[in-house]
Symmetry: C2
Subunit: 195 residues, 2 copies
């Protein structure tokens, strides 16, 4: 592989997302993506099966990695926070710079089919996380709830993070989102009433 092909995958991703953002996903061809990245279509197909994959490659290992982290966690006593934390600790740079991720998000939100695909991926991750929590002995209903809610809390934080250009720390924003959830939760514990 010639030296100039170093970083081809990242260049293709950045070029694709720029073009999708500028002229729409449907209106962009693989040929244009390769041209913008100054690479051949042959190189494009070495990395991606089609133009849609450019948006979703980079999180392929997400489920497996998160499941591993749940399995290795010191404690699962705080399952919702654990789910949010393992998501926040993932290396999202595989989707490009925070700015590229923001543009990627805009492209996905503008196209119902891409959005449905993305929601399908989030759902699969929630199902895998719930299974991993059950493996650690968390009761089924609590595992489902922690996984499904935790994924939503994380993605709310993730949206704020990319909107802010990645300047703040994703882990801190995620912790703040959990704290915000506790402020909008109904308080029913007697201890709180007494306090």
């Amino acid at each position: 592989m010639p030296r100039w092909e170093h970083g081809s995958e990242d260049r293709l991703k950045t070029a694709a997302i720029e073009l999708f953002d500028e002229q729409g996903f449907e209106g962009t061809s693989v040929v244009e993506i390769a041209e913008r990245a100054r690479l051949t279509t042959r190189t494009f197909f070495r990395y991606f099966s089609d133009k849609r994959e450019v948006l979703f490659a980079g999180t392929d290992g997400l489920g497996t990695e998160l499941v591993g982290k749940i399995a290795d966690a010191a404690s699962v006593a705080d399952p919702l926070r654990l789910v949010v934390r393992v998501l926040a600790s993932f290396d999202w740079a595989g989707l490009g710079s925070p700015n590229t991720q923001r543009r990627r998000r805009a492209v996905i939100d503008a196209n119902p089919q891409l959005l449905e695909r993305d929601l399908g991926k989030q759902h699969s991750v929630a199902v895998e996380l719930a299974d991993a929590l059950r493996q650690r002995g968390v009761e089924r209903a609590s595992a489902d709830l922690a996984a499904r809610v935790g994924v939503q809390v994380f993605y709310t934080a993730y949206s704020l993070w990319i909107e802010g250009g990645g300047k703040a720390d994703l882990a801190s924003i995620s912790e703040a989102a959990i704290d915000r959830l506790s402020t909008i939760m109904p308080k029913r514990e007697p201890a709180l009433k007494a306090g």
Copy 2:
């Protein structure tokens, strides 16, 4: 319209979901659905544009109705519980009996494209609910979180409800799901540490 066509829409829904469940969504034709319902394909197309619509018609008015209920709510001080309650108060019978809804759910879960479509609908509802909360003066980040998390809490309860054949009350199961969420939430309030 002849008298025997009374209830045609429900008969078509029930027939379709039975067939999808028995022989798969892809393997079922509109002709078979009409035959099972003892109606003509012409009648089928009077109610549904295609076989996929049979699964999703019946919740068409969901977003609009929920938005109206948020607008009319006495208070939005407890936004997460409000979201769960308006969802639980929707008339889900438009999707058939609880048993039909359970079979419908199994059909959707077995087909990635149907699942993505369903997740897209849930997401649209969350976006509409978040907008409605903001209209009522709830801060954006809290509105987003209450809507996204509330939808997940509700669907966790809804799954338990259809699995139980609709015997228990959906509203009660939903309240129990909110209570469960508060038990898996990290407790950070000083009052609890002291308690």
